[in-house]
Subunit: 224 residues, 2 copies
Amino acid sequence: MTAVSATHESPSRERIEASILIAAEEVFSQHGYRGASLQVIADRAGLPKANILYYMGSKQSLYVRLLNRMMRRWNEVLEDITPESDPATVLSDFIRTKMVLGQRYPEGSKLFAAEILAGAPFLSDYLAGELREWVASRAKIIRQWSVQGKMDAVDPRWLIFLIWSSTQHYTEYSAQVSGILGRDALTEDDLESISAFLEHVILKGCGVTAPVPKPSIDAYGVEK
Amino acid sequence: MTAVSATHESPSRERIEASILIAAEEVFSQHGYRGASLQVIADRAGLPKANILYYMGSKQSLYVRLLNRMMRRWNEVLEDITPESDPATVLSDFIRTKMVLGQRYPEGSKLFAAEILAGAPFLSDYLAGELREWVASRAKIIRQWSVQGKMDAVDPRWLIFLIWSSTQHYTEYSAQVSGILGRDALTEDDLESISAFLEHVILKGCGVTAPVPKPSIDAYGVEK
DNA sequence: ACCTATATTGACCGATCGGTCAGCACCATC
DNA sequence: GATGGTGCTGACCGATCGGTCAATATAGGT
């Protein structure tokens, strides 16, 4: 290490930690917390097992770190909306942003799904706190849109869940989707086709009428 | 055992096997194949661990048996449709049947989800064979509906995935849903509200116009 | 009462689990 | 070249993993 100070992080350390996080995300997302083993993670990262614990402390702290990183990524794209916003634009952005997020962080999305499947032992506070507040605030605005006649009087909570589930499906069930389509992975054209489909059905299904300026999609960067 | 024959199954044996399957479905669905342990399953079933292996042979054969049982349940409700069928009725039935299935077999649905998350190691043949054929045949009919002007020209595969994902969400992400709603479980009213919402959005979103006779929903029995 | 077949399970197996730790390698400083 | 601090890891720990097996319990047929 350089002589500067104790708190300084050498570039080598950051690189090693990053490779551990990548390997761990793959293994945890496939097999869940209990099903993942440090030995497999270590092998995939090309490091001895003791090295994983040296950098991450414990299996649990490694797992929690991955969860927090994924929630941070999620929060980065939560743009603000107001009752004055155009529902078509907001919902369309929401759908496409979610699709892109799933494609950009497939392992992180699956990690999240496995955590929920296990009963969310590490995320129950987050779900009942931060995330519930987020849903409540958006639901309030969507409800106002309905009152203003900008869209049908649908339950905003079910609408939010619909957008979540229908977009997440293509990353978390990728094994099912590609098995049925007979392809190893979704193409860029598939993603655009799916996004357009969801946009069409959900907006039309909710009676959203306002014109929406066509956004462009980019699998490697969130549009806007 | 009775004197009848070697293939005869005593009622006691059936009862024990059923209790093992119930316990195993709970554990496998929460923690996946690798994360589940026979000891935990045995404890939950109130039996010694060796007894589980006596009845089920191995961890893998127990797991495969659960998967097959779930796929059989799924196949039971796959009704036939034709190009002459009414899209509104068929889609509405499809949505509500899927919702009821998820509520009736929540552990089985989660088991399936965990298997897919793990990359479908035991189900890849089923996905690329039987299920792919099922999707292809339905897609063909839906496409004909579009040609006949009964609905919008949407990609049938994305429509099928939409119905799957949006209905499954409420069983597989029950921990997230109940965490956000601040409730332990969904009520009967919630389920009817969600079904009606999905019916409204998906049918309207696909431009399905024909009148649909209102079906009744019953969480403990599939309607029809 | 005896025999046979099945039901049941405690004890045990080698392998693997998450985690600890002593000790070696390395390197800047004096 | 001796020193001290960090990076690193092979070897090991008790616990638990899936699975085997011998021993015992049970029940029906004769």
